[in-house]
């Protein structure tokens, strides 16, 4: 059914910078978020956390809490349904027997106001018998370590073991080898809207939950497991969601807790995280301890790679445990490498539970892969750009891992950013400070300008690349999405999409796809996508999949509508439907813009108002031609298309304070086709911002299982003054499988940034940072260490 009847150069809405459908509501304060909802009789739900890292629960006394005026329900693990939930099937809403992290939920209350809820929480008495805690993956794997989950034989949840070629032997044939060890920190989504749930049961015991989830249908299933009730009795509604970034990829205890409170109180219960709760009680990105070596041939051919990764998953396992699948992809397939080995251990500890976060393993693996690429280039005496170009993937190839690369603009991305950053200045930038003329405004107000030959400021330029799934990712058995398109009598087109909008703008891209197919304005398209009782099934918004997967589903549904309208218009005009087109709101003979035609809504009315009339609608289902990776070898084509990108950065280092400032980012990404360039850039730029934070300032400091900096003051995401101007470059390669050639872009903007900054830092001052974030203190220590080594101390 796929036929390219659209002239690439003649799109009316594809490729246009159309504002998001909800932009005006958001800019004027009209958008309604979960936090804005209010139901009659609604109660406040609050959770009591253990605040001990590992302990047996001896007794929980809720008797005093229950007596607080205004308290309507107090629940503990005794109220749990029997089933465990989560990716590891290891979690319960409230903990009944033991707690495994400080943030473990032990009791919850629903009350008429915050005061009553807080008072009740303070009156709950829990007696614990403390157990020895495990504060790192290394400790958890040590012989004789206490078990986090006693039903398991040890604390290793899962080992990933991937190989192609023969890496062990191949290193013997490598001409140059680099080997390094990396320490990657806890970081967290820190979406501007905190996590939210509002639950209400009707008198037939059916649950409605308003949620900030990214996976409404899987949440329906997961809640059914967690609550022990039929999924068909659960309805999930997603209000406007204030960012998620992977936070909403699993069911987390607060959601079933909210439902249990609603059930036990018989009232609607609202559970909204406070900001500090958002920091300590949402699942973070896993900290990782990585060892990797890479070997190369003298002519610059990448030859062998061997990585081992230790991930501290914390007390419970979420979908975040699957991130090694993505890490191995970057390790084994970002470049052509004939021999590769990758091992990852996912380990339980008594640290806070971790989860999925934008990039899903890729920012981590891109950091270690791309910094080693620069080290290898240096050993070979090759230019890092040339070295990357030599080993870059090419279109229409298959990697040893089984990734079928169709469209691929990696080389174009590399060339483009190198040119735009002024790569040829790279050697002079770092050696001669005075020759540098910056063409962008200096944004720092508290640093000396580079005007003094004694200046401690050094500059550097760096580059890094990325590969990311761009055509869905089959991590569940289905990677499908449904869509329905209908047209009413007045020409209002409605797309009912299974997909989820979390702020990224995908619903606008979907509206553009439908508008292009039907030849209507984007303004004529409404998107309904927020209610599981209305929308068709979808696995959720993750893996940069929505524009690609939901876009294809919408494309299919819209085409059915188009064909129906054309068929009927053909009868009305007495021509063959093959000669008709829909454009500018009209159905008319192709290429005959001035000729006779009929307004499309008139055709729709004619289809409704007649004997044997019919509804003008279409239904699409798209599940990409991919497969689950083999469960033993981890090989297979997980995605129907792959996105590529390169970023180049220019930075400044203050050698007296160690502080790094990014002056400019140039980001070129192969997105197949930009359905809406404005929001493609938005994804790239927002990703780069997370990348700058990952590189320089963001770290959730976890000590003895406790989060020390649970605030937006001390968890330092970049402000507008920390971010440099970003130049986004869109590379279009017209993917054969993507809707209008589009590929996903949601994650890759944040993948290469930290590596590019680390490479620029090396260019500036000759130090290699293997630990993130590269704070002033760490950089200064490294500079002093380098000085010491050079002085031969």
């Amino acid at each position: 059914m796929r036929s390219w009847r659209w002239d690439v150069n003649n799109y009316s809405v594809i490729g246009k910078r159309v504002p998001k459908l909800d932009a005006l509501d958001k800019a004027t304060g009209r958008a309604q978020y979960g936090h804005d909802l209010n139901l009659p009789g609604m109660l406040v739900g609050k959770i009591l956390y253990a605040n001990v890292p590992h302990a047996r629960i001896l007794n929980i006394d809720i008797s005093r809490a229950e007596k607080v005026r205004g308290v309507k329900a107090v629940i503990t693990g005794e109220h749990n349904p029997v089933h465990k939930f989560g990716y590891g099937a290891d979690n319960t809403p409230l903990k009944a027997d033991k707690v495994r992290s400080r943030r473990d939920e032990v009791a919850a209350v629903a009350a008429m106001d915050d005061d009553a809820a807080n008072e009740a929480l303070a009156l709950i008495r829990v007696e614990y018998a403390e157990l020895p805690p495990l504060y790192s993956a290394e400790a958890a794997l040590a012989a004789g370590a206490p078990l986090v989950h006693e039903e398991r034989a040890n604390n290793l949840f899962l080992r990933y073991n991937y190989a192609h070629g023969d890496a062990e032997r191949a290193f013997d044939d490598a001409d140059e080898i680099v080997e390094e060890e990396y320490f990657l920190p806890y970081v967290t989504h820190a979406a501007m809207e905190t996590s939210f749930a509002l639950a209400v049961f009707d008198l037939q015991n059916r649950l409605t939950m308003w949620s900030t989830t990214q996976i409404p249908f899987l949440l329906q299933r997961d809640l059914s497991e967690a609550l022990g009730m039929p999924g068909r009795d659960i309805r999930i509604i997603q209000p406007t969601i204030g960012g998620a970034f992977g936070r909403g990829l699993d069911v987390y205890p607060f959601e079933p807790i909210c439902a249990l409170l609603a059930k036990h109180s018989g009232k609607p219960v609202r559970l909204a995280f406070t900001r500090d709760e958002e920091f300590f009680a949402t699942a973070t990105r896993q900290p990782a301890h990585v060892k990797m070596r890479t070997g190369v041939k003298r002519d610059g051919t990448l030859w062998a790679r061997d990585a081992s990764v230790l991930l501290d998953a914390g007390a419970y396992i979420s979908w975040g445990a699957v991130t090694p699948l993505v890490m191995m992809e970057t390790t084994a397939s970002l470049y052509r490498v004939p021999h590769a080995k990758f091992v990852a251990d996912v380990v339980y500890s008594n640290n806070p539970p971790t989860g999925a976060m934008r990039g899903y393993g890729n920012p981590q693996s891109t950091f270690f892969v791309e910094t080693q690429m620069d080290m290898l280039a240096e050993k070979l005496g090759m230019d890092p750009v040339e070295f990357r170009l030599k080993n870059a993937n090419i279109p229409n190839s298959e990697t040893p891992q089984g990734l079928k690369i169709t469209s691929c603009g990696l080389r174009e991305c590399i060339t483009e950013v190198a040119e735009r950053i002024g790569w040829e200045r790279r050697s002079s930038v770092s050696s001669n400070q005075l020759s540098v003329v910056s063409n962008q405004s200096s944004v720092s107000s508290n640093q000396s300008p580079v005007s003094n030959p004694q200046s401690p400021i050094r500059r550097g330029i760096g580059i890094a690349c990325t590969l990311n799934v761009g055509g869905g990712a089959r991590i569940y058995r289905s990677d499908g999405c449904g869509a329905t398109v209908k047209v009413d009598d007045f020409g209002r087109v409605t797309l009912i999409s299974g997909s989820t909008e979390i702020g990224q703008g995908s619903e606008t891209a979907l509206a553009q796809i439908v508008a292009e197919v039907l030849g209507v304005r984007v303004d004529d398209v409404t998107v309904i996508n927020s209610d599981t009782s209305v929308k068709p099934w979808d696995v959720g918004t993750h893996a940069s999949r929505t524009t690609f997967i939901a876009g294809n589903a919408a494309w299919i549904a819209a085409n059915q509508v188009r064909e129906k309208i054309l068929d009927h218009a053909a009868q009305m005009l007495n021509v063959s439907p093959n000669h008709l087109e829909m454009r500018d709101g009209m159905v008319r003979v192709q290429g005959d813009a001035a000729g006779k035609g009929i307004a499309y809504d008139k055709v729709v009315r004619a289809m409704h108002y007649r004997e044997d009339g019919n509804v003008v609608s279409g239904t699409g289902w798209y599940d990409p031609p991919t497969k689950l990776v083999d469960k033993d070898t981890y090989k297979g084509n997980i995605s129907a298309a792959y996105g590529f990108g390169a970023q180049a950065v220019e930075i400044e280092v203050d050698t007296e304070t160690g502080q790094v400032r990014v002056l400019k980012i140039v980001a070129a990404h192969d997105v197949g086709r930009a359905i809406n360039p404005m929001y493609v850039e938005g994804q790239i730029e927002g990703g780069a911002q997370m990348g700058v934070g990952y590189a320089l300032s963001e770290e959730l400091q976890v000590r003895e299982g406790r989060i020390l900096n649970p605030s937006l003051l001390d968890y330092r995401m970049p402000t507008a003054l920390d971010m440099p101007p970003i130049e986004s470059v869109i590379i279009e390669t017209a993917d054969p499988e993507g809707p209008f050639g589009a590929k996903g872009v949601g994650e890759m903007g944040g993948n290469p940034t930290a590596a590019a900054i680390a490479n620029a830092l090396y260019n500036a001052v000759g130090i290699r940072m293997n630990q993130l974030p590269m704070t002033g203190e760490r950089v200064l220590r490294a500079l002093k260490e380098k000085e010491r080594m050079e002085n031969g101390d």
């Binding site: 107000s445 927002g686 937006l712």
Partner: protein, 154 residues
């Protein structure tokens, strides 16, 4: 418990309210006046999502006691729409792609309006300084800055 009678002028309307002293301006705006455009991001002045104009100056409304705002003028993001016409900043944020999840947007709009009231033609650095107290997790700020500078050039 002490109750205070206060008078607040919000978006041009006078509101006489009977409040507990501990309530913040943000709570009054969101809960009593149902002006949900003022968002709570942290409750401690670290994110700027709840920024409103108080006597024409931007403030984090989560750190203002409503009692202390007695008799003063408040403008929220809703109040910038005049006779159905959004403010130039609101339009620019829309057309430049300066909002994604939108949770920070009302605060950013208010900070930008405050800047432009004082400095009608800001450059990029001035725009960045003006919104440095508004955290955004989605956009990388570039398109927001572009929008503010563009308004100044109109």
């Amino acid at each position: 418990m002490q109750q205070l009678y206060i008078s607040l002028t919000v978006n041009g309307d006078v509101h006489e309210l009977n409040i507990e002293p501990r309530r913040t301006l943000m709570e009054i705006l969101r809960e009593d006046l149902e002006l949900h455009g003022t968002h709570e991001g942290c409750g401690s002045g670290d994110c700027g999502a709840c920024t409103v104009l108080l006597d024409n100056e931007p403030v984090p409304s989560c750190l203002v006691l409503a009692a202390d705002a007695d008799g003063r003028q408040v403008v929220t993001v809703e109040g910038l729409v005049q006779n159905g016409e959004p403010h130039a900043v609101q339009k620019a944020i829309v057309t430049h792609g300066g909002t994604q999840c939108g949770y920070c947007t009302p605060g950013i709009v208010i900070s930008s309006v405050a800047l432009l009231n004082e400095n009608p033609h800001p450059n990029e650095l001035e725009a960045r300084e003006a919104i440095a107290g508004n955290l955004c997790r989605c956009t990388g700020y570039q398109k927001i800055v572009d929008a503010i500078v563009a308004v100044g050039r109109e």
